[in-house]
């Protein structure tokens, strides 16, 4: 018995002091086929039944202990080795070594439209859509722009061969289409592409984008329009900018207004971008003209409405200080990747 115990403590000592190579031989020495403990167990037949029980029990116990000690030591050694390995593994953290996934980009115009729509959604507007090829009725007549009206000249229109169709010069036909389709209350924005027959330069483009807004209901007022647009501008530009409403003239609204915002660059002090006025023209708006309501058979005595139209390119140019509208349609990656 004592012998067994001595063997055990000796073995445990050995395990403690071992390394990965020695451990294997210790395992073999004690627990192998001809190992010390195996031998002891095999030699039990030489003892009395009582001793056999005692010694057998003790030897088995020790065998289990040793086995688990060895396993523990094994794990310990493995962890040490791994730690050593980890200590050696030091990679370059420069991004130049990284896998060169390239980043995509969204077009700034599309992005601005999305941002603006979200801002209007928060103000309770829903979305509508309209065709780019329009008729004279939707683009002009229904909007109180009769034949021969100078306002028709101002928006130089592209006409299509062989049809009476034209390319819409503004998103305002969207107003008519929405009102034809549904009854008040209406509160929508209509974003889209519009076309003007103009020579392109740094601030003009034959193709550009607008967002039209329209609310028609029983108690829609000019004050309501001011509030909505003020909120929109504050939401969109994320700050408390000064806003100015200035009388203007559009055929399809009365009263009409132009909205200026405090110049974003000089904060109203006057700079090159705002031509020293401290203000930047932002959008046109007004109360829907009774003739427009009449053209969709709304009773202008019962319903009133407001409408507004915002040029997306203009806003985007302001937002990113882009000085040439043609950059949007050139699609040079050196430009696009900045967004």
């Amino acid at each position: 018995m004592d012998n067994i115990r001595r063997v055990a403590s000796e073995a445990i000592q050995k395990i403690k002091n071992s390394d990965d190579k020695v451990l294997e031989s210790i395992k073999f020495e004690y627990l192998g086929k001809n190992g010390i403990l195996t031998k002891i167990l095999k030699s039990l037949s030489h003892y009395s039944i009582e001793d056999r029980k005692k010694i057998g029990f003790e030897a088995n116990k020790i065998k289990t202990i040793l086995a688990s000690e060895i396993k523990k030591k094994e794990r310990c050694i493995k962890r040490d080795l791994l730690a050593k390995k980890i200590r050696r593994e030091k990679l370059n953290c420069s991004s130049i070594f990284c896998f060169p996934f390239s980043k995509g980009s969204f077009h700034p115009i599309v992005q601005t439209i999305q941002d603006m729509i979200l801002a209007f959604k928060l103000l309770g507007f829903s979305l509508a859509d309209g065709p780019e090829i329009e008729t004279d009725w939707y683009n002009f007549e229904a909007l109180n722009i009769p034949e021969n009206h100078p306002a028709k000249d101002m928006q130089d229109t592209f006409y299509l061969d062989g049809t009476k169709s034209l390319l819409r010069t503004h998103t305002s036909p969207g107003q008519i289409r929405v009102m034809e389709k549904q009854k008040p209350p209406i509160k929508v924005v209509v974003p889209g592409r519009v076309y003007r027959n103009e020579t392109s330069d740094a601030s003009h483009s034959s193709t550009f984008h607008q967002i039209e807004g329209l609310e028609v209901d029983k108690n829609v007022t000019f004050l309501g329009l001011k509030m909505i647009l003020t909120k929109f501008i504050h939401n969109f530009f994320c700050c408390k900018l000064d806003i100015r409403f200035r009388p203007s003239h559009f055929q399809f609204t009365e009263p009409s207004a132009e909205v200026d915002i405090q110049c974003l660059f000089c904060k109203g002090k006057g700079c090159k971008i705002c031509k020293n006025s401290g203000w930047i023209e932002m959008l046109g708006c007004g109360m829907v003209h009774p003739n427009v309501l009449r053209s969709v058979n709304y009773d202008s005595e019962v319903y009133t409405g407001y409408a507004f139209g915002i040029g997306v390119e203009r806003i985007t140019m302001l937002k990113y200080k882009i000085d040439d509208i043609r950059l949007f349609y050139e699609n040079d990656l050196r430009f696009l990747r900045q967004f």
Partner: protein, 791 residues
């Protein structure tokens, strides 16, 4: 147009300085800027000339003593209009004049000069000028010159298109009057009875009113300085006294006037008629114009003497020999003037005003005003007058209901205030309970209905006064519907985000194309623009490809090694406008990576990679990729496939035909275009229920099969897919190797290695079952396609 600040003061007494006036007018809808004279003077002050003496060593020079009140300066001056007691501008030493001239202390012919007395041209006020600028006797001395000259500011105004009445000093004075509640005073105009004239014949649809005056015995000569100055400030060149007066009255009162030399007219009668189609006229600008029946002309009994309302004829104008003049003050048909002006590309101060519409009353007033000035300045007497009216004019009446004001504006305007505002706008009111019958003054022909009056009230009151603080805050109803959150179709949003993650850049192109650009791709257009400005706007794009291809080449041209773009927009085909989405890609898949280069891998975009991208972005298995039975001509015929949704081909992709691209670019160009109108993109994401899945393991088996090289793998897949239906234990397959080895299979055979995944959802599979299944599949492939197991 330009407005003189001092001139306005003659009409109305107001206290705004020019800058304030500009912002007041702007807030009333007339955008106004104070024009700086674009001169930056520094160190130029007003001085008094104390003494002038001849330069001892130079005949043409003078030695002057001047004072700014504090110091005296000795100046050498070369202008012969210099004399003592004058107030003149002195550029002191250190001054910088327009054009960058720096004034230094200098010696001129031996005499010191401590600065320079300046002429208008030296100050940049005029291009040419004679002698030095002599200022008014009462000008303070020692004051910076810009402070003196500013008191005579010129404003540039931009008038709203419907406010022709503002295109004059009187018109702007009326606006100011409405704001400060004063009635502007008109210049003194003497009218008296003159014999009536009967020499004008007018076609009624061309002209509402025609006033002619015959003034005889005028002496043509230069205008007095005050007229020349007034015209110059407004950017009009002086011609002679009579012509200048007509222009002066135009900018004063807004009515364009014209004078003819009666002798040159050579006729008893004057006709206002449509031009005949072959008629021509040489206008005052020396250019000949071809006229047509859309043009109104003033004519003698033979030919046109003026393009009515736009420009007079050269050979009928007033010159130094003229003695008798015919003064015209008319209201021509605005539409026709506008059309003609556009057609002839000829605009004038006169046409600009006619187009915007003239008030009824001003013609007579202006006619008398001009006649007064002519007789006063150029002499002569008013012989006779004709006032021909083709309509019976009555001032319009509009009923204004006071309650409508708050209904439209959203804020209350007191009745008294409303009445006051309208009164000072020249509106005559008759009150009746809660209404007012408003008689609109003749110059405000833009006011037509009730809401126009409401706009006037808001405008004069000030849009800013309609304040947001007056009303309780509305509850912001935040209603973000889950669908339709973007102006883009849902599937496009899906594409955009996926492609963004794959490194694609979004582009936008014009909707227009040049016809020539289509040929290359064999595309046809169906929408041609009738009136394009340039070739670039000839047609509407039938496909997104030409522009995307152009974008690609642009970026390749500056050395971009990897170009991957997508675009969403409308294309215009025989079926109308169609929502379309496209991607184009070319070059290296990723940038160079040292780890791949170590292994010699340089992946480039090719058909299979592109197809992988397409497969990846398609939202569900309902979009299937199949053989392209009807490929667009621009694809490589062997490297294209089609995308099918509910049995309809909705898109195609593939490598662009090298015949198209080979001259431009070495690499393969992959293109994919999908028509979003061919399926309802809103319901593209069919919601399917969750499926339970078995946790039993999959059994994998690899097999290699040998097939004919020209057999589309799609055919093999078809068989496998049919086989997999009805709860077959074969659940999935993948291709892991393609192998052609001529010496082994011959050159018309190819080997595919497939990995098959087996599973039984209920129980663990046995080898036997799997082997059985595989044998059945192989048998099918052999029987139907002649595909064999590779030995």
């Amino acid at each position: 147009m330009k407005i003189s600040y001092n001139w306005l003061k003659k009409f109305i007494d107001f206290e705004f300085d020019p800058q304030e006036l500009a912002s007041v007018l702007t807030s009333m809808g007339t955008e106004t800027y104070v024009i700086s004279r674009e001169c930056c003077w520094s160190n130029v002050v007003t001085v008094k000339v104390l003494d002038v003496q001849k330069h001892p060593f130079a005949n043409r020079l003078f030695l002057c003593k001047v004072t700014d009140g504090l110091n005296n300066y000795s100046i050498v001056c070369g202008a012969d209009n210099v004399s003592s007691e004058q107030i003149v501008p002195l550029a002191k030493i250190g001054a910088v004049l327009p054009g960058g001239v720096k004034i230094k202390k200098s010696k001129i012919r031996g005499k010191d000069s401590e600065g320079m007395i300046c002429s208008e041209s030296e100050l940049g006020l005029k291009k040419k000028s004679k002698g030095i600028l002599v200022l008014d006797k009462n000008t303070k001395i020692g004051v910076a010159l810009e402070d003196i000259l500013r008191s005579n500011s010129i404003l540039e105004i931009e008038v709203m298109i419907n406010r022709g009445d503002c295109l004059s000093h009187l018109g702007i004075a009326r606006e100011i009057g409405a704001k400060i509640r004063k009635i502007p005073s008109l210049p003194k105009i003497k009218t008296f009875n003159v014999p009536s004239l009967n020499c004008v014949e007018v076609a009624p649809d061309l002209c509402l009113r025609y006033i002619g005056m015959l003034i005889s015995g005028v002496r043509i000569g230069p205008s007095p300085a005050w007229i020349i100055n007034a015209l110059e400030e407004n950017g009009i060149k002086s011609v002679n006294n009579v012509v200048d007066i007509t222009n002066y009255v135009m900018i004063e009162l807004g009515q364009p006037l014209h004078v003819f030399d009666i002798k040159k007219l050579g006729t008893e009668m004057i006709f206002v008629r449509r031009a005949r189609n072959d008629e021509t006229i040489i206008a005052l600008n020396d250019r000949e114009y071809k006229l047509d029946s859309e043009t109104i002309v003033v004519a003698n009994d033979e030919k046109p003497v003026a393009i009515a309302g736009i420009m007079g004829g050269k050979y009928f104008s007033v010159d130094e020999k003229t003695v008798d003049v015919f003064l015209e003050s008319a209201i021509f048909n605005a539409d026709l003037i506008r059309k003609t002006s556009k057609k002839l590309s000829l605009t004038s101060d006169s046409s600009y005003r006619f187009e915007r519409g003239l008030g009824w009353g001003i013609s007579d007033l202006a006619s008398w005003r001009a006649a007064n000035l002519i007789t006063e300045i150029a002499g002569g007497i008013i012989k006779s007058k004709q006032d021909l009216q083709t309509i019976k004019y009555e001032m319009p009446n509009i009923c204004l209901r006071f309650e409508r004001i708050s209904k439209i504006l959203g804020c209350d305007v007191k009745k008294d205030e409303t009445i006051e505002i309208l009164k000072f706008l020249g509106v005559n009111l008759q009150l009746k309970n809660e209404m007012a019958l408003c008689t609109i003054p003749s110059w405000r022909n833009d006011i037509k209905i009730e809401v126009d009056l409401i706009e006037e009230i808001a405008r004069i009151k000030g849009y800013d006064v309609i304040s947001t603080s007056l009303i309780h805050e509305e509850n912001d109803t935040i209603t973000i519907s889950s669908s339709n959150n973007s102006f883009l179709p849902a599937i496009v949003e899906d594409f955009r985000f996926k492609l963004n993650g794959l490194g694609f850049s979004e582009v936008l192109n014009y909707s227009f194309l040049e016809i020539d650009k289509l040929k290359k791709f064999g595309l046809k257009y169906s929408h041609k623009i009738t009136n394009p400005i340039s070739k670039e706007n000839e047609i509407l794009r039938p496909s997104l490809l030409p522009a995307l291809y152009k974008n690609l080449l642009l970026n390749v041209s500056y050395g971009c090694e990897r170009v991957v773009f997508f675009e969403y927009g409308k294309v215009f085909t025989e079926y109308g406008e169609q929502k379309t989405f496209a991607i184009i890609m070319c070059g290296k898949i990723w940038g160079e990576w040292w780890k791949w280069l170590e292994q010699g891998i340089i992946p480039k975009y090719d058909f299979y990679f592109g197809a992988g991208v397409v497969k990846n972005i398609l939202p569900s298995n309902e979009f299937k990729i199949t053989e392209n039975l009807n490929p667009e001509g621009y694809y490589h015929p062997g490297k294209t496939a089609s995308v099918v949704f509910e049995e309809k081909s909705i898109g195609q992709f593939g490598i662009l035909n090298p015949i198209i691209t080979t001259d431009d670019i070495k690499e393969d160009v992959f293109y994919f275009e999908i028509n979003l109108d061919l399926f309802d993109s809103v319901c593209f994401k069919k919601k399917s229920f969750y499926k339970t899945y078995s946790k039993l393991p999959m059994v994998k088996r690899d097999i290699s099969i040998v097939a004919k090289r020209d057999l589309q793998f799609l055919e093999i897949e078809k068989i496998i897919k049919i086989f997999m239906r009805d709860d077959n234990i074969l659940k999935k397959y993948s291709l892991f190797s393609v192998y052609s080895y001529e010496s082994k299979f011959g050159n018309n055979k190819i080997s595919y290695s497939l990995r098959l995944f087996y599973k039984n959802d209920e129980k663990t599979l046995t080898d036997k079952e799997v082997n059985e299944n595989m044998r059945t599949l192989l048998h099918k492939l052999y029987v139907e396609l002649g595909v064999e197991l590779r030995q």
